[in-house]
Amino acid sequence: MSLLSLENLIKTFDSPAGKIHAVRDVSLEVTQGECLAIVGESGSGKTTLANMILGILAQTSGNVLFNDTVLSPKRTPDQRRHIQLVQQNPLSSLNPKRSVGASVRLGLDTYGIGARADRWQIVEQALEAVGLPANMRKRAPAALSGGQRQRVGIARALACEPELLVLDEPTSALDVLVQARVLRLLNELRASRGLTYVFITHDLAVVRNIADRVAVFQSGRLVESGTTEQIFTQPQAEYTRKLIGAVPVVDPDEMALRDKLAESS
């Protein structure tokens, strides 16, 4: 059953130089529990698509359906709650003037999750669920490492008890070892909580690690979609072949070594 479907989504921006077609007639289905990777170069419309899924950008035409309900861009808090975002840049995604806990708590207060008195406890549980100590909630983001901040970003999304997570390049700003750990965490969370991911990335090595299916975008169009296996072994579109051909060869032995290092550190 599809949790999220996009029907003929189109987004056009007006600019002094004329119309910019950011997303051109995209239809997609995301099944409950799967991880769909959206890949493409920068400027291919991935983030515009994500913003329409999240309801912070109104589509020019087309529909976003969630659990078979059409979502208007003016969403109710309950509709927002089920689709949450993890951002790319952990340096800017947390307000430097608010404590880590206050950032995680925002969703709880907005959606009225839990009794007021219990919310700090829920915040601490969310931090623990992503592998951070509960007492970190009182710290300022500046005191955290990039990987820790990214975990806070994940905790903030999870605290809202979403069904779908939109992950916008969640590992591309992290160094390799931290990247591996965050990916492992995301895989574990998906399995244990039955989450569905829309994972936006341009890193095909990451795609192989986490995605069930892949959708390839080029200049606002959905070029090709299929299971991860299909896309990597029998890419149909010329563009997909080029994209895969451009990836530096990943040595399986080296990957295993990386994982080992990540575990021991």
Binding site: L54, G55, I56, R75, P77, R80, R81, Q84, L85, Q87, Q88, N89, L91, S92, S93, L94, N95, P96, K97, R98, S103, L106, G107, T110, Y111, G153, R156, C160
Partner: protein
Amino acid sequence: MIRAIRILAANPLSLVGVILVALVVFAAIFAPWIAPFPTHNGAVVDFAFANKPPSARNWMGTDLVGRDLFSRILYAYQISLVLGVVVLAIAAPVGTIFGLLAGYLGGWAEAILMRIVDVFLSIPPLVLAIAMMGVLEPTLTNAMLAVTVMWWPWYARLVYAIARSEREEGYVLAAEVIGAGTAHIAFREILPNCLPAIITKMTLDMGFVIIIASSLSFLGLGVQPPTPDLGSMVAEGARYLPDSWWLTVFPGLAILIAVFGFNLMGDGLREVLGVDE
């Protein structure tokens, strides 16, 4: 706090600023106890001692009707500080609300709010205040009103510029995805990031407000005699230069000390709070 002290200590000029400001504030608060002639605050006449140069009895000399200048300067500091605090306590929040909403909301709100600000900014500040005082009665309250009206748009400008760049930050996007309201995002998320710059500007502005208020009373448009005011004391004495130099030099020095102190302290605060402009 420890970091703040260390930065201030490493920067002797801002320490001088803090000391000068502390002196001025101390003088203003304790004027009735420090002043050798507390009654000279008002309409007192003592022709026996009129227009005397500095002496052991009157450290800074006496004015044309025999009042102790030192006592009057202490009381004038009270007026200057109250005026500065009131003006900034109104101008800063009003300007901040304009700037925050214009900067965060963009679009129509930005167009309307910032054009209003531009109208005020297009009139030279002192001219605006002088024009207002020409219409209003010259009282302390009206002087505060006139200075406030010319002052708030600068806060709108400052906060607008910061809010515009902050709204592109990921934390604002995060709050929008969650669906937090405009009020929460503007006042709870963006405002805390504007505060260091606002506080620094308020400190620097204390000095400038004192100058502008003194300019108004120098022109006879501000606080009226017999209430002591640094600007009108300078104006009064200017006619008797260079013979009765103490009439202008000491009130002038008093203005200088206050303005200098607030400016140096503001520069120090800018570093402590990590504001970059």
